[in-house]
């Protein structure tokens, strides 16, 4: 098939938007309570509240988180020049959870001393900023310690990320012991990775962060192509490698931090989605980044709908992070075996 680059981009975007639309529609149509779409759109209660007040915001939340994680995963894979890179595996999500937890614990402590100041610190924006800061710190750590003799070694970086994740889980468990039970519940939420019912204000904060940082990654997507050639080649071709890499670092971390602030540590979305999208659209990041972002949104909306429906007979629902890990864990191992074969090039 020979299509012009612009036509290919348009096609990928159209397919991605269609997928998001279908996923959101499916997520809105399905749930614990049977509702009539016609009645809901006509404003009849409780159908309207269930559709527009519960299912739609939740689908939007899942879409934002999936979009952020898939775009961040694509960018991190380009930076590390390794298909196994992913915000969760690399510890970037863990750093975000730690950053957010520190803000929450500080808020709990401050609330005891100065009530309203502590409450203000415990609201969505400071927690989100804490998560973003934590994600950036984790990215710096992983990419800094993943260097051997000045060269970035992907395997070393991945190992640093895995160890950092275990460290974060320990630290959050320690913090859980120190705070009142209500706060402990909130902290546990960070580790689970669940899309819940957030207020429109919180979703707006998350949307601004996610859309902003994903837009940065899309704008930089042509440069990501050059980065994957290697630093020297990219520099020879006139790319300011340091500057671009710093921006990609920052944007990918901000996207991950926002996703974690909204839904906790949902793993493997940034691994599954970019890989599947790459198989269809190819390795060109100008297509790959926006398409991954859109299909990531659709993927997590469907995964959350699946989580909501799977255990319906038991009257409960697992966190969506369990669903993505259930799918993503084996997928990671399969990718690992596959990329270990010498004849396979990395993306």
């Amino acid at each position: 098939m020979t299509l012009s680059p612009a036509a290919r981009l348009a096609l990928a975007l159209a397919a991605g938007l269609l997928a998001v639309g279908l996923a959101v529609a499916a997520s809105c149509a399905l749930g614990a309570q049977p509702i009539s779409l016609g009645a809901a759109l006509a404003g009849a209660e409780p159908d309207a509240s269930i559709l527009l007040g519960l299912r739609l915001p939740r689908a939007v939340l899942a879409a934002l988180v999936g979009c952020a994680l898939a775009a961040a995963g694509t960018a991190l894979q380009a930076l590390l020049r390794n298909p196994l890179a992913e915000p969760f595996v690399l510890g970037v999500s863990g750093g975000a959870a730690l950053g957010g937890s520190i803000v929450l614990v500080a808020a709990a402590g401050l609330a005891r001393v100065a009530g309203s100041a502590g409450e203000a610190l415990g609201t969505a924006p400071p927690v989100a900023l804490g998560a973003v800061a934590g994600a950036i710190a984790a990215t710096l750590l992983v990419f800094g310690l993943g260097r051997v003799a000045g060269r970035l070694v992907p395997e070393a970086a991945l190992l640093v990320g895995i160890v950092f994740n275990a460290f974060v889980a320990g630290v959050i468990t320690l913090m859980k012991m120190l705070v009142p039970p209500e706060q402990a519940n909130r902290l546990l939420y960070w580790l689970l990775g669940a899309v819940g019912y957030e207020s429109p204000g919180t979703i707006a904060v998350g949307a601004a962060l996610v859309l902003g940082s994903v837009a940065v990654l899309v704008l930089l997507s042509a440069r990501l192509n050059l980065l994957t050639l290697g630093d020297e080649e990219a520099a020879t071709l006139g790319l300011d490698v340091r500057r671009v890499r710093a921006l990609v670092f920052f944007a990918a971390s901000a996207a991950t931090g926002a996703a974690v602030a909204l839904a906790g540590m949902v793993g493997f979305v940034g691994l599954i989605v970019p890989h599947l999208v790459r198989r269809v659209v190819g390795p060109d990041h100008r297509l790959l980044v926006p398409a991954s972002a859109l299909f990531g949104a659709a993927f997590l909306v469907l995964a959350d709908a699946g989580a909501r429906l799977a255990f319906l007979p038991l009257g409960t629902e697992p966190p969506v992070g369990a669903v993505t890990a259930f799918l993503g864990g084996p997928f990671f191992l399969w990718l690992l075996r596959r990329s270990a074969r010498p004849e396979e090039g990395t993306a």
Binding site: P46, S49, L54, L129, N185, A215, R242, R243
Partner: protein, 358 residues
């Protein structure tokens, strides 16, 4: 550490646009602070007072007449409604509810994870909720939707953390359901039951007790917990010191504390499991009082028969009088009221005051 990340002046239109977009996003997120703090803040920031101190919070309009479609988000509150004789008002309960009277009612999720969709689907005119951090996001969302809808319904949030709150709850619930007299009667009856146990314990030697709610890890009732208060009422002394209400307790500390008696309140775990704690001399001696159900820690009317069982276990010498939990002649209904303890079910105890069930 990483020289490639050193800041440099922006170069090229794309980089500049990218940096600008990011700055814009961060500014926008800071600007959104106001809406994020807005709706239903009353549920988010309770006064810190329990029900007994007037800490119950109404979110949404107070009902004009007696509510007819009540959804209850905690089994202990279901017990209160049943004891008031108002079973016909209930339209939904949690999946943890095990009272036979509500076996056929729709379930709306759990105590920690209520399902807002299922609750809205029942078109309630009142939702009763025991304040708990785990369920807060879902209940807060529910309150926002109720407020925005054309038929707003109230949510009554009840912070139940101690015995006084348990005793005051029927009064508040009866009032909310349009039966203030019945609520008052039930509150008084429960208080009388607790008071009679306290009186009987007063002249007796206070046994030193370790109150176990989980064996692996060992979780015990510490100072400030609901269990600590119940032990005092039942005429016992808690051996656990420290600052946390439900600590994960080092076994060797439990051994060193050398309690005279161990109360095994892990009623939903096999009785034999207590032998994991055989290092504690009292367990080796067989000085273990096993509670037959989790009634005691249900912060509702079942607490009184539970307390009676605890008292008999701690003071067998004083229990030969054959006293039955006597809530008073004016207790309206036997169902779920003191004395009528249904068999234990399999789900973990839902309304554990003070939170922190591991």
């Amino acid at each position: 550490m990483n020289p490639s990340l050193a800041p440099r002046p922006a170069r090229g239109p794309v980089s500049r646009a990218a940096a600008g977009t990011l700055a814009l996003a961060l500014t926008a997120s800071a600007a959104a602070l106001a809406p994020a703090r807005g709706a239903a803040a009353d549920l988010l920031h309770p006064s810190g007072k329990g029900v007994a101190e007037g800490g119950a919070i109404w979110a949404g309009p107070r009902p004009s007449g007696p509510p007819r479609r009540v959804v209850v988000l905690a089994p202990s509150l279901t017990d209160v409604v049943l004891a008031l004789g108002l079973r016909d008002r209930l339209v939904g309960v949690t999946r943890l509810d095990d009272a036979p009277e509500v076996a056929d009612l729709p379930r709306v999720g759990g105590f920690l994870d209520p399902n807002p969709e299922a609750i809205l689907g029942l078109s309630p005119d009142l939702v009763l909720w025991v304040t708990d951090g785990g369920a807060l996001p879902a209940v807060r969302r529910l309150a926002e939707l109720s407020r925005a809808s054309r038929r707003p319904f109230p949510i009554l949030a009840l912070p139940i953390v101690n015995v006084a709150d348990v005793l005051a709850t029927p009064r508040v619930v009866g009032d909310a359901l349009g039966d203030p007299a019945g609520g008052e009667r039930l509150s008084r009856a429960l208080a009388a039951g607790v008071e009679s146990i306290r009186m009987r314990g007063e002249g007796l030697r206070r046994r030193r007790v370790l109150f176990v709610v989980g064996r692996e890890p060992l979780v015990v009732g510490g100072p400030g917990s609901f269990a600590d208060e119940l032990l005092r009422i039942a005429g016992a002394e808690n051996v656990v010191a420290g600052a946390r209400p439900w600590p994960i307790y080092p076994l060797e500390k439990a051994v060193a504390d050398d309690p005279e008696l161990v109360v095994d309140a892990a009623a939903r775990e096999p009785a034999g499991g207590i032998h994991r704690l055989a290092a504690i001399p009292a367990v080796r001696r067989g000085a273990v009082v096993r509670l037959s159900s989790d009634d005691l820690l249900r912060a509702g009317p079942r607490m009184v028969p539970g307390l009676e069982e605890l008292f008999r276990g701690i003071h067998p010498e004083a229990s030969s009088t054959g006293f039955r939990a006597e809530p008073g002649a004016d207790a309206p209904r036997p169902s779920g009221a003191p004395g009528a303890a249904p068999p234990p079910a399999r789900e973990p105890a839902p309304a554990r005051p003070g939170g922190s069930r591991p």
